[in-house]
Symmetry: C2
Subunit: 221 residues, 2 copies
DNA sequence: TTTGATAAAAATTTCGAAATTATCTATATT
DNA sequence: AATATAGATAATTTCGAAATTTTTATCAAA
């Protein structure tokens, strides 16, 4: 693996685990020191990350961690609902028993980690990366058989940005334990091949982050 | 504007206008000569373009123009239908008369250029950039009032990739003149505030590129 | 003729610094 | 005290080349 790729992946994981605060400047010099690479390579990595929205690029003013806003969280939740409900329904349609088995396995793993987090009161900090990987795995498996690489790519982007927003919003990871029944519900609906119910359950899972947008008027009227 | 940004935009427009053939290598040295910039800057620009899927990046093997395949065209069409129908319906819900006016204007412009292309038999080559910009403008205006920046970003990405695939597939730009009634139909449905009809018309507009996927079996069963 | 090893060429990755631009600080002015 | 200006500092942008890897070309052996 090239230095560029491993740097990209490592920094991506730091960004979605809330290591940096919203609005923080990503200084070239700091990252150069962190990874022992040159300024050009740092810049290159940041451009890759800005492409998926994990950092913002401002001309002549470098890169920053996106601000945490209610509106963006709503927007990302809404977009994830659109992509994930569609992907899940297509998976239900096209996926076979192999898919069902993998989804079951992914859920089992996730459930196990979620219960460990629940019992480990307080010091569940170091379980977060494990949970993070398991949750991503479950939701990716859910749409795995949709037969659309583009849809899966878009979903991954939105998932990462949403995760980053959530962690910026709640540094205590309170959102981990509140999803246990919801994941269960999604699994059940999918295994029943009930597309409408699956849509509903995914919607429920994310609806907590939706807000009532102010009735903004069209400025050109 | 920085050199980096203008290079990005220029190269992007070359990529979606079919100047390069599918699978072509994007050699650093060639682009360095084209734009009078350094290798590092070329690489940076290509990373930005790969982020939106306009070039493919292969580790240790540089960047290439994506191959033209029926499956990808289908995938992109399907994804565009999902994003554009959703965005259009939300625009219908939230957009006011100002939006309707802008949509009308964008369509009028597009119609005008399409008629010029139709009459100019043969040498309509130089009208393509104009048409390209007008078509993008129309479809972007259609979803403009959806109140989701994320949805608009995703749509733009998919739109660019779809355009690139179409031009790779049909170098003679035959697809330009076949869409006149369809654009008209979308406009009418949107102005009627008929969400279901708008969805249907957008679907029709892109359905030509959908294929019957082979009934692929789940490999793990 | 085909296969495989080796050398030469070309391309990619990474670097470190120069040039440019933004940001900060101290000072002067209203 | 608040605002504006100028110089100093820090950060970003861009460059050109060295180091590494892949690709191509050459030639010997099966």
């Amino acid at each position: 693996m090239t230095r560029g790729k491993s740097t990209y992946e490592h920094l991506r994981d730091r960004l979605i685990s809330g290591e940096f605060y919203p609005g923080q400047r990503m200084k070239y010099e700091d990252l150069r020191a962190d990874y022992g690479i040159s300024i050009s390579s740092v810049r290159e990595t940041l451009f890759r990350l800005s492409a998926v929205g994990l950092v913002d690029f401002l001309e002549q003013r470098g890169f920053r961690v996106p601000h945490e806003t209610e509106a963006l969280r709503h927007d990302l939740a809404q977009s994830r609902i659109l992509l994930e409900t569609e992907g899940a329904c297509l998976s239900i349609r096209y996926g076979g028993v192999g898919w069902e088995a993998r989804l079951n396995a992914a859920h089992h793993e996730l459930k196990h980690i979620e219960s460990r987090v629940s019992s480990a009161s307080g010091n569940s900090q170091d379980l977060v990366p494990l949970w993070s990987a398991a949750e991503l795995k479950f939701h990716r498996t859910l749409i795995e058989e949709c037969r659309s690489e583009v849809l899966k790519q878009l979903h991954l982007q939105v998932y990462y940005r949403f995760r980053q927003q959530l962690i910026s919003h709640d540094k205590n990871f309170g959102f981990i334990t509140t999803n246990v029944e919801q994941h269960q519900g999604i699994l059940e609906a999918a295994l029943l091949h009930d597309e409408a119910l699956t849509r509903e359950r995914i919607h429920q899972h994310l609806s907590r982050h939706l807000i009532q947008l102010p009735p903004q008027t069209d400025s050109n009227e």
